[in-house]
Amino acid sequence: MTSAISPASSSSTLDARVTAFLARRADSAEDSSATSMSTGNTTTDAPPRRVMTRAEALALAQYVREATREPDLGIIVDHTATAVASQRVGRAPQSRDVDHLWLRVGCLMGSAVIMDIGTNVRDTTMLRHVLHKAMVTKTPPPLPDPDDDQPDAMEVPKPARYLPVTLWHPRTAAAAATERGTALTQLTAPFQGTDWHGMGTVAFGERAFFFLDPSGAETAFGESTDSEVSVSVRSSDGSAAGWSGHAHRDWSQIDPAKVARSAIAIAEQQRNPSRAEPGRYTAILSATAVGQLLQAIAPLFDVLRGPFEIIPRNPALNQGRTDRRGMRVMDPRVTLWSDPADPEGGDLPFFYGDGGMGHPNPANTWVEKGILKLRSVNVGDALMAGMIARKTPWATHMSGGLTSVDEMIKNCERGIYVHRFANLQIVDARSGALGGFTRDGCLLIEHGKISRPVKDFRIFESPFLSLNQRLVALGPTERIAFGFTPRNQDEENPHTWPLPPVIAPSIMVTDFNFVALSDAV
């Protein structure tokens, strides 16, 4: 991923490369539309990628560096392209294709004020114009103030090794242009002849991320594709609902029709739900629900907050807190890790948020057989604390087991099955307690069988407690689909779709707190 590069080429060469990229994109858009208009069918030629290659991103970054004449600050090129289509059953479909570039450079302006300039422009003529507009407010810096005791900017250490990862699947990139219509048909066809209301969504994403470090000698580049389908089902009176989804970086692994049938089957189980008394129950959580919990508690692995909080810079504030590394914090059957090269999900192998852009992110085992091994810390705090920087475990993998959900149900005297949650938020960081809601209804289990569907609950529980002394069984793992609901304003998970992959098992836990009833469906 990292490489030393030759000295920057002349402006005319850089201009030419960027201009050539734009011309290629314009031509390919015309070719693609011309082909599909003439045949109306899936094209046999795979369309070119919609996001920049490494060479194109490097050329753009070098051009910007030369244009701004700022040698000491890093440059980021973050290019995403999404292609989405959705259809409410019985209505016309819609599509949304968005190409989004974010080019970011730090500049010294005014009296040594660090300005972070961001733009989405790539055309060199326009880029020159845009940067000039930004730089026009610059005033010459005065002579340094001898009484100014502001510390010098910290040196970002030289990047170590980037893990080799393979997150790009050409099949997914090709499917974005050609297979949305087919996928929508497969998602909506199972509703024919039923009284269910439904809606299906299919989405494809491509991403290219490039970082040119301040020295100009090192770069980080990553590219990824992802795809996801989901189906939501509602009864005509709104009392019953179902949902199913599947996400995979390789589109060929997704079966939209199967997702639709699964959503309808879940909704069928939810007909005529009744109320169950709130309280603590044994809970059987689907893999989707467990994955949502894991993503919600990811920020709490940070060394500066959460149940494992330690403040390395200020020991006086650590009264009563213990460094719990090496201590048992979860059941011995639980191992949690994040590996950019994880074949089931993976992630870009460097920081692209959380501070420290382009800084390598290693594989991390957060909890090993229940023992806390590592906490996350961003680059800036890691430098201050003398720790190795590790990204927040948004993309994470939890160990599983062999117990199927059916077996869990058979072994449950009285409990609640939860298909998924909604709007999970950290309520109390110290205990890791989350507030939120179940969604699409729950199933009451009595004497080893599904007894009846019940209405949704509000929940108030700490997954750290559930996964510690209350874990009964684990099922096989799968990559979960999060769906397309944007985060609640106060949720802390990443803001962009696709969300980082989470691989999780279904689990059975005791004493899960279904604290109150909810009117949600």
């Binding site: 314009a26 858009a29 015309e30 539309s33 599909s36 208009m37 109306g40 259809q87 209505r91 016309a92 479909p93 819609q94 599509s95 949304r96 294709d97 968005v98 190409d99 989004h100 570039l101 005014g110 004020v113 660090i114 300005m115 300039i117 961001g118 733009t119 989405n120 422009v121 790539r122 055309d123 845009v130 507009k133 407010t137 005033t139 929508l184 048909t185 909506t188 969504t201 939501s232 509602r234 709104g238 006086a316 909604a422 709007n423 309520v427 109390d428 969604r439 509000r458 108030f460 397309f484 944007p486 609640n488 304003q489 106060d490 803001h495 962009t496 779709w497 707190n513 909810s518 009117d519």
Partner: protein
């Protein structure tokens, strides 16, 4: 240039075979500074968002670099995508129509005095940091020093040139300017930090609005921060206790009241949600079906909620993202739902489907409430709403006297509202919570939050404060649809007194 790009795109879309098309082309700039730091950011974003319809199927293409070549390519791509969806889609109903609107022409500018992009970086830093250097004197100076009192502010200026064009002949250009600002007073002494206490209170006079750099130069900015610091120190000195669960009458200050509305009624009023068009995206609505909602008094008579498209409200504009003239349409009038937030497509669908609704109940015009981030399609989220305050004098202390005994919830910037996807209910965790006895604030309350069910809560609004209690908090929301885009909203609300809210714990176990 932007106009030429817009008209070129429309021509290309029609030529490619679209039945209808519209486009938004934008040149968007922002500059932001946070108080007394030597860091800021500048963003310069160009973009376009083109919608086409082919046999009722809509395709959208959004991108950057609004050049004639790029938008022509986008138009062809959008039409090709729409055709492909039409050829593959399962049988569906008749093609959805669009509500007709007057064809818009013209220009409009947000009235501003000083263009923030004409101000040097040094001047920006000087002014924003001056907000944080409030000159106290005498006892307040000593108290502020003892408590570690500081003021923190953030200033975020945007300027957008936005061109809208449509195949119906519309062509409008708007020059929009907004300021997203916030300030709060904070007590940051070491001894408070060791006790795990961090007090923060919003300075209400610094808030999102439309305008330019002149907003930061308001002459009374120090006076407001002064008053807020005094109030903060007095509140922080109160004894502290944990609350028992139960039901209490509660005053929500303007900031919390606005955030509650933003998370519950605002999404519920979206017709896209009501019609089920977003069930797989953001969820559905509790204000459904329309014939059981429109014209019905579902909430307290004190609840009047109005769209606020005019300056100085945040996001002021003459036309919305669909080229529809904006109007201060009333959504809820004296507790009666009078309108939904609708677009041209959803209003047409409502009119076509709502056979049981009387003509007088149906909205007759498209309300002009959509907005679109650069390069993304329009959504039914107006940039600003206002909840009507009391017309007679009713300050926060007068509300407390009317309350008698109960709770007072204050916004600090750290509060949060957690609701289920349909907005039917949830929790409100205030920044600070106080016990009120016989009209006087007696104690700070820790470890509690407020639980509510939306349909049961809003009928219990028994009093609202006057304009002196109004706040417009800093509030971002993800606009519905992919890709997720954040948008700032300016929701203004007075303090409100609610009856019998559930008080529940905010900790799994009470801290030692």
């Amino acid at each position: 240039m932007l106009r030429r790009v817009a008209t070129t795109a429309i021509e290309a879309a029609i030529h490619a075979g679209a039945d209808w098309a519209d486009i938004r082309v934008s040149d968007h700039r922002r500059v932001s500074f946070s108080g007394d730091t030597r860091e800021g950011s500048i963003g310069l974003t160009c973009g376009f968002g083109l919608r086409v319809r082919v046999q009722g199927t809509e395709a959208f293409v959004g991108g950057s670099e609004p050049t004639p070549e790029n938008v022509v390519a986008a138009a062809k791509s959008a039409v090709a995508t729409a055709r492909r969806l039409v050829s593959h889609a399962t049988p569906m109903g008749p093609a959805a129509a669009l509500a007709s609107v007057p064809v818009a022409h013209g220009e409009w500018r947000t009235p501003i005095e000083i263009d923030p992009f004409s101000v040097s970086v040094d001047d920006h830093v000087f002014v924003s940091s001056s907000h944080d250097k409030v000159p106290y004197d005498g006892p307040l100076q000593r108290a502020a020093r003892y408590h570690g009192g500081i003021v923190e502010s953030g200033w975020y200026y945007t300027s957008e040139t936005q061109v809208f064009a449509s195949s119906e002949g519309a062509l409008v250009t708007q020059y929009l300017a907004n300021v997203a600002a916030q300030a709060h007073v904070r007590l940051l002494s070491q001894w408070r930090a060791q006790r795990g206490e961090d007090f923060m209170l919003v300075v209400p006079s610094v808030h999102p609005c439309s305008g330019g750099f002149e907003v930061a130069l308001q002459p009374d900015r120090f006076a407001h921060a002064h008053a807020t610091m005094e109030e903060m120190i007095a509140l922080a000195a109160l004894p502290c206790a944990f609350m028992e669960v139960g039901r209490q009458d509660v005053i929500l200050d303007g900031g919390l009241h606005a955030k509650l509305l933003a998370n519950t009624l605002l999404p519920a009023l979206s017709l896209d949600r009501v019609l089920g068009n977003t069930m797989d995206l953001t969820g559905t609505s509790l204000l459904t079906p329309p014939d059981a909602v429109l014209g019905q008094r579902l909430f307290a008579p004190l609840l009047t909620l109005t769209v606020a498209p005019e300056a100085p409200h945040f996001g002021a504009a003459k036309w919305d993202a669909e080229g529809v003239a904006t109007t201060p349409v009333s959504l809820i009038t004296n507790g009666v739902i009078t309108n939904y937030l609708s677009s041209r497509a959803t209003l047409a669908t409502l009119v076509a489907q709502a056979s049981s609704l009387a003509a007088t109940q149906l909205p007759s015009v498209v309300p002009g409430v959509t907005q679109a981030a650069v390069g993304t399609p329009p959504v039914e989220v107006p940039p600003a709403l206002v909840l009507a305050p009391a017309t007679t004098s009713c300050s926060l202390s007068e509300l407390a006297k009317r309350l008698g005994t109960g709770l007072l919830a204050r916004a600090s910037g750290w509060e949060n509202v957690l609701v289920d996807p349909d907005g039917r209910g949830g929790y409100l965790t205030p920044g600070m919570l106080f016990e009120v006895k016989h009209g006087t604030i007696t104690r700070r309350i820790r470890g509690a939050r407020l639980m509510f069910t939306t349909k049961r809560l809003f009928p219990t609004l028994t009093a609202v404060g006057d304009t002196s209690t109004c706040q417009t908090p800093w509030y971002y929301r993800d606009l519905p649809g992919l890709p997720w885009q954040e948008a700032m909203l300016g929701i203004t609300a007075p303090a409100g007194l609610y009856h019998n809210m559930d008080v529940v714990p905010a900790f799994l176990e009470l801290p030692a």
